[in-house]
Subunit: 190 residues, 2 copies
DNA sequence: CATTGATTTCAGTAATTTCTGAAATTTGTG
DNA sequence: CACAAATTTCAGAAATTACTGAAATCAATG
């Protein structure tokens, strides 16, 4: 590995974290490298930078593409493929959320639905189903929220983040003002 | 493995998903078993239910305790430890969020901070730092939101979820009403 | 359409992670 | 405080996952 020290630290860290994030070391390293590099890199650049085999680079890039985490760039007059990452971090966040939901949540939700269709054969199964139903309800609430929020533009998303728990206070404020309006002149609101 | 079919399917699914969630198969299975069982189980119950070694159960329970995902119950007159999961799914969600943040986000944030303290030794490093700074800013916004929201009571949290993207509209509504109020009688609001 | 260069595939190997059984330790009880 | 039961530790085995190099495939160019 032959990189500026700062970049190397970043790349190695992403490699180590990879396993916790559900990707492997190489995939993490390549992502970090592409993210922090000032220009697109081709496969051989990555081989040189990370000292790994060409085939490993090929497979790992494929994996990153399955995650929608890399972009393919073509450089005129060069037949090799060059790669970068999308450069809007908010977009990266959206992609990550989408992909992790797909891999980590959706399969469980579908198993829960399936198991809740069955009729329980014993008291123990009846209890289990009740617990699964609780879990299903929660997951469905979360995914409903996510489906709603994921369409927001970056600016609105940032607003929502900045608001945080103040949202609940805001509701109170609105309710108070609205009910004040009603008392005053019996007007309707949404 | 000797379990009612429904419970068995659930347990096996959690086992398979384990690796995607950053825990291993056994840990996933034990968690699922404890979650869906109607009463606390002791280590030997788990050995019997899942057909795994006693030592594996011991290590996996330790892992689950490190995640704060299991509770220890004592049954009077029985010196063995019995285990359950917290039964409020919202509380489980909070725990999961906290632990995953601790394992998956915090280490990266601290590396980013450290790397951003260094002075860049080249143009390439300067560019890398700019990218790391973007990432840091995003993560800090997200964790700030999380730190704010994590203290909410379940009911408030549910309200926030149900609101979803409507929050942004709510802000508009509030602004409109408030400015209306100002025009009418020059009142102040927070 | 042959040649050359780039990329992918895949079988075998290496590395890592998980699991087990035996031994050691801890904990509660008479 | 000795004993018995329960639990944990840990070295090695088993299973899984990641990586490599050689061969195959694909794609552009003259």
């Amino acid at each position: 590995m032959n990189l500026p020290p700062l970049l190397q630290s970043f790349v190695l860290h992403f490699g180590e974290m990879g396993s916790r994030w559900g990707i492997n070391r190489t995939v993490g390293q390549i992502y970090a490298l592409l993210y922090a590099s000032s220009k697109p890199l081709c496969a051989d650049d990555i081989v040189d930078a990370l000292s790994i085999s060409r085939s490993n680079v090929s497979m790992s890039l494929r994996e990153l593409q399955a995650w929608n985490l890399v972009l393919l760039k073509h450089i005129p007059g060069d037949r090799r493929d060059y790669f970068t990452t999308p450069d809007d971090v908010w977009q990266i966040l959206r992609t990550l959320a989408e992909e992790r939901k797909k891999r980590e949540v959706d399969p469980t939700l579908s198993v829960l639905r399936e198991l809740l269709m069955q009729s329980p054969g014993s008291e123990e199964e009846r209890h289990a189903q009740a617990k699964l139903a609780e879990m299903q309800t929660l997951i469905e609430q979360l995914t409903k929220w996510y489906d709603d929020v994921k369409h927001l533009e970056t600016e609105q998303l940032a607003t929502l983040l900045n608001l945080g728990s103040k949202v609940t206070k805001l509701i109170d404020t609105k309710d108070r003002i609205v009910s004040l309006g009603r008392k005053r002149k019996g007007s309707k609101t949404s």
